[in-house]
């Protein structure tokens, strides 16, 4: 440490370069983290037209599809997939349930459309009771670990329906219940026309 005559001097040492780099990296890392968090919070819902990532739905007993107890979205390429989120404690879901089932019945035999019911944060006994109550026949399963809903909408409410086209792109988002069977058909018919 150098000492000059007169007033005692203080040693002039810059902040070491590596410390500076570390601090700036940390700061920028934090800002990047916050930015990413903000972007996620600002866009919780998947946008129409984006590729839907593959997901697996484990199905309830009695609601299997062609004997398979698990369904992957990638298995269903080539079909229109109607992903309907519901819960037994949700009144609007109960309101739309008969219409959705009726719509399913209309498309079941075409082989071009498949309805998937995803039970969101629910309990199995109540869920099965709900399914029986509305005579629902399309494949249904619980949203284990909230992974499937996390793909479509990080702030999912129920009921919400996401319709995926034959190429695996998100085609339509319905927040809230459908009001009628015709409403569902108006979306699906153009998708399968001529295919």
């Amino acid at each position: 440490m150098s000492q000059e005559s007169g007033i005692a001097s203080v040693p002039k040492r810059e902040v070491p370069i590596w410390v500076q780099i570390l601090i700036w990296l940390g700061l920028l890392g934090l800002l990047a983290l916050l930015a990413a968090g903000l972007m996620k919070a600002g866009h919780p819902i998947m946008s129409v037209g984006s590729q839907v990532p593959d997901f697996t739905l484990t199905l309830f007993n009695g609601y299997e599809f062609n004997g398979a107890a698990q369904l992957k979205r990638s298995d269903l390429i080539g079909k229109v997939i109607v992903v309907n989120f519901w819960a037994s404690w949700c009144q609007p879901c109960a309101d739309e349930a008969p219409d959705v089932e009726a719509a399913w019945k209309g498309y079941e035999n075409t082989g071009k459309v498949i309805f998937l019911g995803v039970d969101y944060v629910d309990t199995e006994p109540e869920a099965l009771a709900y399914l029986t109550r509305f005579y629902i026949s399309y494949p249904n399963g619980p949203d284990l670990g909230m992974k499937v809903s996390g793909i479509f909408n990080r702030n999912l409410g129920v009921p919400e329906t996401y319709i995926i086209d034959q190429l695996g792109l998100l085609h339509f988002i319905q927040i809230g219940p459908f009001q009628s069977v015709a409403e569902i058909q108006a979306i699906l018919d153009p998708m399968i026309a001529g295919k």
Partner: protein
């Protein structure tokens, strides 16, 4: 009309604030006192003007102008007058207005002080404060405008705009949604304003610190000037935290007072660095050391204030506390980024100029122990910070949501708090410059005797929980050490000046406010720790559905369900009220009235019945009104031992801060000699 007036006033305030910012900058770069004075006057003017704007908003709230979206969302016809007034801070837009108003009040107070000795610092203090003020006003004007109103367009859609879109008609809803039920409580009067006062007050020392950095001042003038502001900020922040705990306990009805929710942790973080700062600046004042560290601490404190506000308001973190989704995120992000980057860059640039020779001749000197204090507080800060952002990191990296909950926080922070308690006992005995085991030992052996006796008594009474043993022993240690020290000083003064005990104590208090305030604050913290330990370690709870006349037992108390009244109202709300009698040893102690209220919007709120004594609280919640009938009702009863010491300690804490913040008599005389 009033809405347009209010909005116009806020725009005017914003422009004044911008003018202050620019004028102060110009004043500095051109060395022009006239520009700086203009800036100062402009900043002074913002306060009366923004008061007008805030008053307009309050009037609109009170008179039920539901065509304004904010009034619609936080008030309703059934709310009493006082609630409509405090609904000002019941939502995002209004609470930002409150923030701006408080900011302006402090800014004006700062400009009113005598600046003769510190002309150098003035421009940059104004720049920093106006910059912050402009930012918050911009949030109000451009993003969260409380004067936005409903319009119906010709297409039939409802839109929110400040001014009428072409061809649209004004909409006048007959009633509002009303304030969230859990906010409809007298505690709402104080908790948010106290917290915002604490937040806003920290801008002042930060502004002075930045001013000192920019102007290249390496002395501690800025600290001396802002010492009282820092104490005031710390006082309000502490009050805000304590009130939050009180509210959580008495209003929310879950039987606890602190949940380590991220938004609860958010104001705790600046409190931690603020406490570290308060201690560390004493080293700088006494010894001129650690200037860089103190700069860093105040920058950190202010940054955490902004960070906490950011977290609470932009929806980055999910929490019951968080405001609903808002568009202020991106611009807030830019603000926080700029603040951090500019502060760190300035500090690095001036790093050398702040360096002073550091000499520490003893590991047990007060400086050393203060540094240890800082290490511990910073460690608690890191724990809290990490706990808050880790779920964010985890979700971004793995897509998996996780919860970092109370068990982790308690386990990780526990030892650190314990060490801090031990330090509170020892540090006040250490001397500046030199302390050794011998000198400290001489002061410590006397209070150690009753401490060990207290420990022995606990063990004799059957306390086996080791955390309780360590915790309460530390409490006893701090209390005995401090009391012995005070007694020693009182007795010396009494001997020296012949005053009687009380007079001696009173005079000592008056002439050593900082030290005695500190003693009282330390004692109050461990008194609060008594309450915390009691609840954390010995709380019992039970839940049962009771038929009328039936009773349940908890920790020596018997609670009997007597009756129930259910009052439904026409608007869909209802109030269910139960009567529960509390007995102990066969003697009737009192009647409690836990209630359950439902509101037209479907939301619910519960009113807790509490029987309080110094030893404990018996806390009764009526869980469910749907399953409750005069025949039987479900209750949850919680026994919280020692909880009221938390509130008693909090009161002592406030008194301690007020004492510490008071003027030191000798120094005051000197200051007037300028």
């Amino acid at each position: 009309m009033l809405a347009q007036f209010g909005f116009g006033v806020f725009v005017l305030t914003f422009l004044l604030s911008l003018f202050s910012l620019i004028a102060a900058g110009l004043g500095y770069f051109y060395g022009s006192d006239r520009w700086v004075d203009a800036a100062r006057r402009s900043m002074l003017l913002t306060f009366p003007i923004i008061t007008l704007g805030t008053l307009s908003l309050i009037i609109l709230l009170v008179t039920g102008h539901y065509e304004l979206e904010y009034v619609y969302s936080v008030t309703s016809n059934d709310m009493p007058l006082y609630l409509k007034i405090i609904a000002l801070w019941g939502g995002q837009a209004g609470s930002l207005v409150l923030w701006s108003w408080l900011m302006s009040a402090f800014a004006s107070a700062v400009t009113l002080r005598n600046w003769e000795r510190d002309r150098e610092l003035l421009p940059w203090v104004i720049v920093v404060i106006s910059f912050t003020q402009s930012f918050f006003l911009a949030l109000t004007i451009f993003f969260e405008n409380p004067f936005n109103r409903w319009w119906q367009t010709s297409g039939g859609d409802f839109v929110l705009r400040m001014f009428a879109p072409g061809g649209a008609v004004a909409v006048f809803p007959p009633d509002g949604q009303g304030l969230n039920p859990v906010l409809r409580n007298p505690g709402m009067i104080l908790h948010p304003p106290m917290l915002y006062l604490g937040y806003v007050a920290f801008v002042i020392p930060f502004a002075f610190a930045i001013a000192a950095l920019v102007t290249g001042r390496s002395d501690d003038r800025w600290i001396r000037l802002t010492r009282r502001w820092t104490l005031v900020a710390w006082l309000f922040l502490s009050l805000g935290l304590v009130l939050g705990m009180w509210w959580s306990y008495h209003v929310l009805g879950w039987g606890g007072f602190w949940n380590w929710d991220p938004i609860e942790v958010a104001p705790l973080m600046p409190w931690l660095t603020g406490t570290a700062f308060l201690h560390s600046v004493m080293i700088q004042e006494k010894k001129g050391m650690f200037k860089q560290w103190n700069m860093l601490l105040i920058i950190l404190t202010y940054s955490l204030v902004i960070f906490g506000t950011f977290l609470a308001r932009t929806g980055v973190l999910s929490s019951i506390h968080a405001f609903s989704q808002s568009s202020i995120g991106p611009v807030f992000f830019v603000f926080i980024g700029l603040t951090l980057i500019i502060s760190i860059a300035l500090l690095t640039y001036r790093w050398n100029d702040l360096k002073a020779e550091v000499e520490m001749s003893s590991w047990l000197s007060r400086e050393a122990l203060f540094l240890l204090n800082n290490l511990l507080f910073m460690s608690v800060l890191i724990v809290c910070f990490w706990g808050v952002i880790f779920p964010l990191i985890s979700e971004l990296v793995t897509g998996q949501k996780i919860t970092v909950g109370p068990p982790w926080y308690q386990r990780t922070n526990g030892p650190l708090f314990g060490a801090l308690m031990a330090l509170m006992g020892i540090a006040p005995l250490s001397a500046w410059g030199r302390s050794t085991f011998t000198t400290l030992g001489r002061l410590l052996w006397k209070p150690s005797i009753p401490t060990v006796l207290a420990l022995a008594a606990m063990v004799a009474f059957g306390v086996r929980n080791w955390i309780a043993l360590v915790g309460f022993t530390l409490v006893a240690f701090v209390i005995f050490v401090t009391m012995f020290e005070i007694c020693h000083e009182v007795r010396s003064r009494k001997k020296g000046r012949g005053e009687n005990l009380f007079l001696a104590f009173w005079r000592l208090l008056g002439s050593n406010r900082r030290r005695y305030g500190g003693y009282i604050i330390h004692i109050s913290m461990v008194v609060m720790a008594v309450g915390i330990l009691g609840v954390e370690l010995y709380q019992t709870t039970t839940q049962k559905t009771l038929a009328t006349g039936d009773d349940l037992q908890i920790s020596g108390y018997t609670l009997r369900y007597d009756s129930l009244t259910h009052i439904p109202n026409a608007d869909g709300s209802s109030l269910t009220s139960a009567v529960v009698s509390v007995f102990r040893g066969g003697r009737l102690l009192g009647e409690l009235h836990p209630q359950f209220a439902t509101y037209p919007s479907g939301e619910t709120a519960t009113v807790v019945g509490i029987y309080s004594t110094l030893a404990d609280d018996v806390y009764v919640v009526l869980i469910d009104w749907e399953n409750a009938s005069p025949a039987q009702a479900p209750f949850k009863v919680i026994h919280n031992p020692l909880i009221n010491w938390l509130w008693i300690g909090s009161l002592m804490f406030i008194i301690g801060i007020l004492i510490a913040a008071g003027p030191e008599p000798e120094k005051e005389d000197l200051r007037s000699m300028r």
